[in-house]
Amino acid sequence: MSTLDPPVRPDEVGSQRRVERRWLPVLGVIAVILAVTLGPRGVGEALSGPATIEGLVTVHAEAGWSVVTRRDEGSVHQLLLRKGSDGLLVVALAGYGGTAADLGREYAARALRGEYRGLSVGEPAPATLGSGVSGVRFGYVGVTNQGSTVEGIVVAVQTPGGNGIVFDAFAPEGSLAAAIDEVGRMIDGAEVH
């Protein structure tokens, strides 16, 4: 061996025995991770129940969605559910006298145009909830006051009880596709009165 070559390390020799558990701590860590991530699905479902506007609409929130605001102004009631940057706004108008198409037009003209700049609204198409209640559906894209582009889908229905319900699902541009399955299930499974 050249004097310039560093010597080879001796083989490692442990001369102190310590009893080390291999599996138990790992299983403990896995249990903690699963409890933290899966726990809300059990606890949340047990505690929260559906999101309800009394007497008008009940939405069964998917895992990870939570009600962040409620607002009641006379005969207009709002419920906003959020999951991260995705949202589902439920607006219920007690005793709404128009059709689903009227409701959709009014919502686009008042609520969406008041909220977004550069609003682009798609052509309405027929929609039917899982309960058989029919309505209209249309998409939109707009820009918030903060400059963020938002895309959304609105479903407006006139219930057999004479109430108007609007479901407005929205997300940052490009993200709605990822949430569409979940919001679709929530809208489709909503109970309207």
């Binding site: 560093p6 490692e12 790992v26 006051n145 940052p172």
Partner: protein
């Protein structure tokens, strides 16, 4: 499962310990996180390609030097690169993905305390607990993979802080592309708020503290009772969670109201410093105490070795001060060349290893200790054979 008696090997110097069940658990969660986060991040890239590219460029400019700084924090021993990158990757991919999966806790808070309360306090209550547990779990898994590499508080800090850095990096991209709109202007705003104004605070500190807690529990097992170790670790974790709680809470909220324009942007770093600076100072104090503990350990262990083959009095005086070690290596390079400097660095690292072996064996004549002393001696002999190296070999360049 049956416990197994195993010999405590000197060092498992790599993450890739395929015989450790902890390694496979780590890989499983990391793989899940990678698939999940690549999907999430890819969807966000469709918001704005230019904003996306700018996000990563700015964050890498921030993260790279911070990574190096944290990596060099340990006074005496740099952690194996596979483990430090593993910690970073856990934070960036596994912890972020699992935290997204755990957002349902917000709903639990809303159900228990009401939606208005949850809107104001939900992020402060759920995120610190969820995120620190998930990041800390990664540090614990790394320890279980390579137990000998987490043998003091500073090791825990390094792994924890790097895990936190990875988490912060990916979280910032999510914020830039979603909350700040994803446009280049929005990304720059987000970078100003979340990095320039508050990059010193946040996940690096929180998980650094959590890592210190892990390091404290698992080190000094022979010297400190388990009750005291758990009490100190609990305090460190409480500090991490508490700092994170304060950061997310509406308490001490001095941020200027939106929209922020003109000179009011200058208030942002001030407002964030009010929340973040106290914890930064506390962590600085904790790190200082940990370094002092490290130095005391080194002195205590190697003093008995001075005069034997492993280390001389002058070498110990140099070894215990990182600046002196670097100066000795620089002087050696100037005097005897790069190979000699590399060999001196190797000798110093093996003298640190000598300290670790000495702290683990029961008797001075233990075969492992004798072997390590012999190895240090052979390194010194090899160095002495290099022309120009020998005269100041032991004094670190004093001439």
């Amino acid at each position: 499962m049956a416990e197994r008696v195993r010999f405590a090997a000197l060092h498992h110097r790599s993450l890739f310990q395929t015989r450790q069940p902890a390694f496979w658990a780590f890989v499983a969660f990391l793989s899940y996180g990678a698939v999940r986060m690549v999907g999430v991040l890819s969807r966000l890239s469709e918001v704005s390609r230019s904003g996306w590219a700018l996000s990563w460029l700015l964050l890498l400019l921030y993260a790279a030097p911070v990574f190096v700084l944290i990596y060099r924090f340990d006074l005496y021993e740099h952690e194996p690169l596979s483990l430090v990158f593993g910690a970073f990757a856990w934070g960036a991919l596994a912890a972020t993905a699992l935290s997204i999966d755990a957002t349902g806790w917000n709903q639990v808070v809303a159900s228990v305390f009401g939606t208005d309360f949850a809107a104001r306090w939900g992020a402060a209550i759920t995120a610190p607990l969820v995120e620190e547990i998930l990041k800390g779990a990664g540090v614990v898994l790394l320890y279980l993979v390579a137990r000998d590499e987490v043998d003091d508080v500073m090791d825990g800090f390094v792994y924890g802080a790097l895990c936190g850095l990875g988490f912060a990096l990916v979280e910032d991209v999510l914020y830039f592309m979603a909350a700040f709109g994803g446009t280049p202007a929005g990304v720059l705003q987000g970078f100003y708020v979340r990095v320039l104004s508050s990059g010193l605070y946040g996940h690096v500190l929180y998980t650094g503290l959590t890592g210190m807690a892990v390091g404290y529990v698992v080190s000094g097992r022979d010297a400190v009772p388990i009750g005291r170790r758990l009490a100190v670790a609990s305090g460190l974790c409480a500090l991490a969670v508490g700092g994170h709680f304060l950061w997310n809470s509406p308490l001490l909220d001095l941020m200027p109201a939106s929209p922020v324009t003109g000179a009011r942007w200058l208030l942002v770093p001030v407002a964030l410093a009010v929340k973040g600076l106290p914890l930064l100072l506390l962590v600085g104090l904790a790190v200082r105490l940990a370094r002092r503990r490290e130095r005391r350990w080194l002195d205590g262990v190697l003093t008995a070795e001075v005069g034997l083959d492993g280390i001389s009095k002058e070498e110990l005086a140099t070894l215990r001060i990182p600046k002196a070690r670097r100066a000795a290596i620089a002087a050696m390079q100037a005097r005897a060349g790069r190979r000699a400097a590399a060999l001196l660095g190797r000798l110093q690292r093996e003298q640190i290893t000598l300290a670790m072996v000495a702290s683990r064996v029961a008797i001075p004549g233990d075969p492992a200790l004798v072997a390590q002393r012999d190895y240090c001696r052979s390194l010194r002999d090899a160095l002495a054979a290099i022309p120009g190296a020998a005269p100041t070999l032991v004094s670190g360049g004093a001439g």
